[in-house]
Symmetry: C2
Subunit: 649 residues, 2 copies
């Protein structure tokens, strides 16, 4: 208990180290803490970090930033889990050295000080290997030699000595931060991905015919041409026949209706089987391989729930809840019942085997080549299960990505992020004006959320045709997709419905599609191109070319004098790329106004005049801006957004 330094309020950390934070390879981890000792002695501190699997800690000297706040940075260089912690101590060599200089400047005799210094140098030398400590011992000798007084004093007052004290911390009575904190390091795709969702059953060239994985292969060039790098297919497993839903969510299905692919399992198999009309497992593996040629990952839908005829129900009745009359408990939200779905009962006595089985489902598909899972309704399964399952999978396959499809309350969405989900769906679809959107992005990127939640912005999904797009024209679709693609580095669209601008709601007061593809096979003219496909193709190319758009947390909103105009600047961490987006929220009218130059962010030091060249990458128009506020005008019939590449002249 002779340690005298306190280490408090370490950032980043989540709930006192209960959860890990997230970064990608090569992304700096900026660590800070309040570090201080009693009294006036000089202290030092070090940030220690290592991959969890290794024994040796790497050490970075921390720098004092004033008001007892200290900082240091490390850059993780490999995928997987890292650990980090902080050490602090009173450094008596440094303390003596600082005192020595002051006493020297005050003209005091320093004889005893030299002897103290010699002792401290020897103590320091003992902490370092012989290969490094010779210099320290030689200096100690000089300081001890009464005849060398002048030389010793001159040596200490020389600049080499300062470097020496800096290089050789004297660690005694070390305080270590209370927790060893954890960090998960993933690859670029975790923070920069562009998703396209389609129902494979709707990919046949022949109207009315059930599409196959082969048909999907045929569409890969199109998906790649538009710039997507994840192709997400809703569940591909056998679809339950018992209580199957019909068109538009009808309670009973006609004989030839395909049902919802989220009602998984029938006599043909369950979560490890393939719906036979799509093809075979081999066809699926072939699709994955083919997609890789286009740099596209095929994402699998993980929906841990069962149709009433799923094999589990007979094989593992103990995994389900049964009612006193011997019937099975369907999913329900009283008074509603969802009779085509049976939830797994995670409170079962046999929970360990249930967890194992579900993990094995994931690993089964990982072994087939799947690296990305879109997880259906994860918030209806226990947080503890996900925390365990995701870590177990990532131990075997660190590159695996899990996207959480949780459209629910904020704390639950946060908890899933902390439990380990790599990405999460968001409220983007329900943020419909400038103030709402700026507040939401600020919460996601400037608060604790940035440590654990990677947003993935979707302007639509098969479950959500937002009111904003119901009956809307192309302007609104263009606006929403360009906004998603520039606000968030991860974004996606439920493709055909979006690019072909389906805008008919189900007339039930909900944000649902009429004739939803969830319950029927659709037919599309996949050769069709329009204003939407053009906008999507362009924005995805711009995202590829501009690192500033490959990050979500670097967003900086700037002022405008018009509430319909929203302005944000993104600069990539090394400053080599700056993108400035200005959006017109009004899809009906041209809006104009002035936007403020974020001078500090763009490195325009105070006093210097603005001198910018901004080039709109959609229109190739170039403007030169010399003022703090500059005029813009956006016509939604042309482009509802400026995406400027910014150059400082």
């Amino acid at each position: 208990m002779r340690n005298r330094v306190l280490i408090e309020h370490i950032q980043p950390q989540l709930d006192g180290g209960r959860y890990f934070i997230k970064r990608t390879v090569g992304e700096p981890v900026n660590v800070s803490a309040d570090i201080f000792g009693d009294g006036h002695d000089h202290i030092r501190a070090a940030l220690l970090y290592k991959p969890e699997s290794k024994k040796r800690w790497n050490e970075v000297v921390m720098e004092a930033q004033g008001n007892d706040r200290w900082t240091a940075t490390f850059v993780p260089e490999e995928q997987g889990f890292y650990e980090y912690k902080i050490e602090g101590w009173v450094d008596h060599l440094l303390n003596w050295y600082e005192g020595f200089k002051k006493k020297h400047d005050a003209g005091q005799h320093l004889g005893v000080e030299l002897l103290i210094g010699a002792e401290l140098l020897k103590k320091t030398a003992a902490q370092y290997p012989k290969s490094r400590n010779a210099q320290l011992l030689k200096l100690a000798k000089l300081l001890e030699d009464e005849k060398g007084y002048q030389e010793a004093v001159a040596t200490i007052m020389g600049s080499d000595f300062a470097a020496l004290v800096d290089e050789f911390p004297l660690k005694q009575f070390i305080s270590t931060s209370d927790q060893v904190l954890r960090l998960r390091v993933g690859d670029r795709k975790e923070v920069f991905s562009t998703w396209y969702e389609l129902f494979p059953r709707s990919t046949s060239e022949q109207p009315g015919k059930h599409g196959t994985f082969k048909d999907v292969e045929r569409l890969l060039p199109r998906v790649a041409e538009m710039g997507f790098d994840v192709l997400y297919l809703p569940p591909i497993h056998p679809i339950g026949e018992v209580n199957r839903k019909g068109k538009n969510n009808a309670v009973t299905a006609g004989a030839d209706e395909p049902g919802s692919p989220w009602a998984i399992g029938n006599k043909e198999g369950g979560h490890m089987a393939i719906h036979s009309e799509l093809g075979t497992i081999d066809d699926y593996v072939a699709l994955i391989k083919k997609a890789k040629e286009f740099d596209i990952d095929i994402a699998l839908d993980l929906a841990f729930q069962c149709a009433p005829d799923h094999p589990y129900i007979k094989e593992h009745p103990e995994w389900f809840a049964w009612r006193p009359d011997g019937t099975i408990a369907y999913a329900e939200n009283p008074p509603k019942k969802y009779q085509d779905i049976v939830p797994l009962n995670f409170e079962t006595d046999d929970w360990k085997n249930l967890w194992e089985e579900l993990k094995n489902v994931v690993l089964f598909w990982v072994k087939k080549g799947v690296r990305i899972f879109r997880v259906d309704n994860p918030h209806t399964k226990p947080f503890a299960f996900w925390e365990w399952c995701i870590q177990e999978v990532q131990k075997e396959a660190p590159q695996t990505i899990f996207l959480s499809e949780a459209f629910t309350r904020p704390h639950v969405m946060a908890a899933l992020g902390k439990a380990g989900f790599t990405q999460g769906y968001t409220y983007f679809v329900w943020r419909n004006n400038k103030q709402e959107m700026e507040e939401y992005l600020t919460e996601l990127t400037q608060t604790e959320w940035r440590e654990f939640f990677r947003p993935n912005f979707w302007p639509n999904t098969p479950d959500i045709l937002p009111y904003e797009l119901m009956g809307a024209g192309a302007n609104a679709f263009v606006l929403r997709v360009l906004m998603a693609a520039t606000l968030s580095s991860n974004y996606g669209i439920y493709g055909p419905a979006f690019e072909f601008m389906e805008n008919q709601g189900n007339n039930n007061g909900k944000e649902e599609y009429l004739n939803s593809e969830k319950y029927e096979i659709r037919h599309y003219n996949w050769d069709h191109r329009n204003r939407l496909t053009d906008a999507i193709t362009r924005i995805n190319r711009i995202r590829q070319e501009h690192p500033a758009l490959q990050n979500t947390y670097n967003i900086h909103f700037t002022r405008t004098d018009n509430d319909q105009l929203m302005s944000y600047v993104k600069v990539n961490p090394d400053g080599s790329d700056a993108i400035w987006c200005i959006i017109n929220w009004d899809t009906m009218h041209t809006q104009s106004g002035f936007v403020e130059v974020p001078k500090e962010l763009l490195g325009i030091t105070s006093g210097r005049r603005v001198n910018l060249k901004v080039e709109d990458m959609l229109t190739n128009e170039i403007y030169h801006w010399f003022n703090d506020w500059n005029y813009v005008e956006l016509n939604p019939e042309k482009w509802p957004i400026h995406i400027f590449r910014v150059a400082l002249l």
Copy 2:
């Protein structure tokens, strides 16, 4: 791992439970947390608390406040340490009941639901003693009886059943908060105390003569009459003779100079001895007893440092730092040396015995009747030592109060509060305008600081004659003491210098008194009364009579239209007392302006008109206010402050 509820962000707590929070007996502890489960099942939560020494937990049902935030309150009823934690669980009885009601309202047949309910009632009954569960079992029987369908449904839909579900939580798969949190409960004096400091050596009736404890006894009626309940004496131990400081901090003292009482120890003894010119230990004990008759505590100064002739230096040379030339290391702040003071070396190998000895010093005086210690420069001793020492002492004597005399950096002051100091000196003396003062009070009372830091406001100390009071007249003195006494429920003055308005600085650029009493004996005419003693006597009586002023954390600043006017309202927790202070910061001129009525705080519901009677307790003037903003005018020559008692008409 079948538990499905998460409990996060519990408030109050400090550094994830690393430190305890502070309350007083009878003061409510409002606990809140984010609590939520997966899915849509209904959850419940309970706050559990108990005195640390007891085994049985008390339980309070928590209430959902929206957005997954839950709250509950408990009131500690005895001094000492308490523990508290939170439990949460999916309550299947409640969940079934809520579903049942919806299904009933939807007109569904409820036969199977009744059987499920019967099972849940039996499961619930098994969790409660036979003395309580008969009703549950009887109901289960009714629900199981096919013939009783109508009666069973009616019973469940009746209001008694709701109360039953409320009364009998069905706890399964309980989640418990990660930490058991700690709370220290003290008595009223910890948060409401009024301090007077004097040097006992300056209390003789004869000029030049050394005062004694008997002389101090003579002054007790005067101290009590002015309304103080703590009388704090600087160190009363033998004063070092080696390197003794002279008048005005001179490096050498004349033969008859008394030295600084903070240079403790000489051949007569150390920290457990009494400076013989003051009297004996028996005299000191007699003073403590006599003071108790006036409801005054005598506070002892705990200055853990030694004069060069302190007995410890010979008896325990291992507790000090020695230099290579065989001399002892004096206190220093290079290039300055303080040769009358030798610091204890807390890094000594013999630290355990050193800690024990220092604790024994405290307990020695506790046994003599001391319950309040003012601790000198605690920030120059390790935090870990204080954390241990204060808890050890309070285990034996829970009523012991420690005031930290740390005028240092914010993090260090906070760390001492968290380590266990009951009260702390503050930056009050350096907050010299409205904005500074409001910001400071907001930090102390509206942030985490409120959980661990009890401010004690001093307008002066023997070490600090603030620039504001140098050369100042009575107006400034009256202002500063009335501000201290109304802003903070703990406050004190270094008495004679303050009430006799000593305002001469030492002309060294520092905030030091000329002819400081630290280095010489002063003589005062203790019978003298003036504008200051009158103001002090009045304000202390008002503090006694008004619970709203006996709390620091209930302050609420309100708007004025004049930056020289600062306005704050304090309402005591049960709403029975409301005090409104308005201060004129300008000590030279009358200032006037309008102040806003804090309607919500005073319980004036929206829409209702203001109708207040405010009575100034210094002048007995009464005003009736009917508007949201009201006119005030303060002449510093009369009173620089309104202290209104507020009555709602």
